[in-house]
Symmetry: C2
């Protein structure tokens, strides 16, 4: 039986290449659009964690991410993973360093234990994890300080960095050199020389990374490292660790491996032509439509197109153009209209600005049973809550009460309040004020027990 | 100076060929998508009434329509027109008969006065109204009992009925015969014989129509005719009046005349490529997009397409396919999500059904200053109103009070209530109940004075 492997999964930033399903707070890896074995929908992160559990790796998983993703990860992965959140976004080296320090200082892992670092969102198959097992074995056998996965290229892509092995065509080899994203011409030459894509999967012993971290700060307290996080250089793991190492091996993987980062690539992996309330006529072809809204979408005579509607917006594009979506979506300067939170989720229903500068915003809040928002006040807005379903508990100015469907609660600016879901709690919230911002919040200690 | 002309404008049913802007209650003729002279948007009915006022016709306008359109007509045309609403939808002969009876019995028009009947929504130009003046003159000079407008065809259309004049090519002629919508082959022959499209414009003396009506019921009381409205046959004016007449003339009109009944034809007349919050990339061509939602629409690489988003749904089609929209839109069985009313308008924000069968619905109600809903109760739902803007008056269980932004009103099932807009009143309404239907309403007498 294999030993326990510490896996660090890097969960990257938001990005808007899959807008309007991904938005400023909802990253693509959390979209539940992939079919799992039992026919239900799962997200990229759920798929990866499921695949790890189905592999022969006895993994202990730590997700390295930013603060903004903690709620989504906890909602989607629960206690299957630990989360180490960067206090601020820097780059992959600091993120991996912090997660490594957590393993050493909090989890008391041994310097001799093997660490595997990988992205949280490749779309791949079980053979990928078999390759990881081989990488772990190579590290354990001290074949190299650092072992990388090399993805067998399917085309002379200009989107990836390349690993050039010493022994062309061998399954396992020492690494001769690396190149950054090449031109297409150079990529074709690289392919002729047996070069492999750098898929961002690294295996090494904990102690190897600890030695590098200790060049920047002492490894005595995790909290201290976290509070000095801004002292780490903004540099990638590739530059700081990989390119400086003189003992690197690569093991090649030639199975399915994709970045589902554009609508075109993602929709290829979705078997259905439609998800949600969508009608396609029989003249429509090569087209997929996803509708998260409750209102219907009717598509007539579309060819090779993508249609996606969510509370944040509507995207319609021919498949080819969908790769250019990012910059257009980034030009849209709107608040996120739906968001997953630790306590449940919310969806914005309306936003209005009035002649006198006052604004109103309405939201549906859906609480997980047992989920509660922090005890809080707002300076610039009143809120009116109408309980539309279920039961919950309210604390308003230190007074606790039970709430249920039909109850209406008025919360004036400055009044302390919190609410906890007990059973299917759903609240329609109306905010009214001169400034309606997620930043207008002061939090207070409160215990429901 | 011309004498006063009584014009009856027929405002037809709902239809969904312009879904999702038109819905079960919002007919295409009320969509404000046409540019008026001053650059603001006007609807087809507003355009027609404006054009009549700009013509030399001294018109007194009566709109013949169904009950469901009274509020839209009054909101868009105000006191520029009178409205005669059929108690139930039958066909064009009964509708015109009722409006004629109104002119005779309520407006005390003389049997000798001229009546012009026309559709409320042709997209045309001032020459059209000049032709109408000529028709009126022909009636006044007793050149024929019935004078029709013949539209000079631009193609062998199979969508229209044809008028075959006795004297091919003459501007004014006796009518030889009519044909129903022909095959394309027959249409080509008709064109060779100088046939004209029947545009549904008729001029005659009031007495002429009164004689026909009196075959069905006595012309003694408008209210009695209205309450016996179901005794009129369900038959078109063409069948009951035109085809039975033996003194018919036609005057031809050869200017711009279109039915803006499909997205393809309507969008040709809209100069802008986008209306509302829409981004089109530079690869998009031949495409127009209308977005009534507040969330953005991004279109990339679309060719010859139509994109329309409203609170009722989203339509995306290539222009050619948009003519087939009607049947698809009719298959969508959803309540209207926005509606113009006499007192203002509403927009549905959310609708949810819960496990125990209870439902919730939220709406934004925007009141015209002075506009008020009827004094009413609901049997099956409670309502919570949050005033989000402006000022109004509330009557709840016979008690009148003033309401303003921030006020919250709870209305239990069975409680009598009404509200009146005073200044920019906007209310967010949450309905909760086992049955949420526009029909769950009992109305009571109440006077705000």
């Amino acid at each position: 039986m294999a030993k326990k492997t510490n896996m660090i999964l890097l969960s990257g930033g938001s990005g808007k290449r899959l807008w309007p399903l991904s938005n400023g707070v909802r990253s693509k890896q959390f979209l539940k659009v992939l079919k799992s074995n039992d026919g239900s929908y799962e997200s990229m992160v759920q798929r990866i964690v499921r695949q790890i559990s189905e592999s022969t790796i006895d993994a202990s998983i730590t997700v390295a991410t930013g603060i903004s993703q903690i709620d989504s990860i906890s909602n989607q992965l629960g206690n299957k993973v630990e989360v180490v959140a960067e206090p601020e976004r820097r780059d992959t080296f600091p993120a991996i360093a912090l997660a490594t320090a957590h393993l050493f200082l909090n989890k008391k892992c041994d310097r001799d234990e093997t660490i595997v670092v990988m992205p949280i969102d490749p779309y791949t198959e079980l053979g990928y994890f078999k390759t990881i097992s081989e990488m772990v074995e190579a590290v354990e056998n001290d074949e190299a300080s650092l072992v990388l996965m090399g993805i067998k290229p399917t085309e002379p892509s200009t989107k990836f960095g390349y690993i050039i092995p010493e022994n062309k065509g061998e399954h396992k080899s020492r690494v001769s050199r690396f190149t950054e994203k090449p031109s297409e011409e150079v990529a074709k030459e690289l392919l002729d020389n047996g070069a492999l894509w750098n898929g961002g999967v690294f295996a090494f012993k904990l102690g190897y990374m600890l030695d590098i971290i200790s060049k920047y700060m002492p490894l005595d307290s995790f909290e201290k490292i976290k509070s000095n996080y801004d002292k780490f250089p903004k540099i990638s793991f590739d530059y700081e660790v990989v390119e400086k190492s003189n003992s690197i091996a690569v093991i090649s993987f030639s199975g399915k491996w994709k970045d589902l980062g554009t609508w075109n690539s993602l929709l290829e992996e979705i078997p259905e032509n439609t998800i949600g309330n969508v009608i396609l006529d029989e003249k429509t072809s090569g087209t997929k439509a996803i509708n998260e809204l409750s209102i219907p979408v009717i598509c007539l005579g579309l060819k090779d197109s993508v249609v996606v509607a969510s509370a944040d917006g509507i995207f319609i594009g021919d498949k080819e153009s969908s790769v250019n979506l990012k910059s257009y979506a980034e030009s849209v300067d709107a608040r996120p209209m739906c968001e997953e939170r630790r306590w449940g989720n919310y969806r914005v229903l309306s936003y209005d600005e009035y002649e006198d500068g006052v604004k109103s915003l309405s939201k549906i809040l859906t609480f997980n049973n047992g989920g509660s928002v922090s005890y809080q006040t707002h300076n610039f807005r009143d809120e009116v809550w109408t309980v539309v379903d279920g039961k919950g508990k309210l604390v308003l100015e230190d007074k606790i009460s039970e709430i249920r469907r039909g109850d209406v609660i008025k919360i004036k600016a400055g009044e302390k309040h919190s609410v906890k879901g007990v059973e299917n709690l759903q609240i329609l919230e109306v905010q009214i004020g001169k400034e309606l911002s997620e930043y207008d919040i002061q939090r207070y200690d409160f215990s429901w027990e």
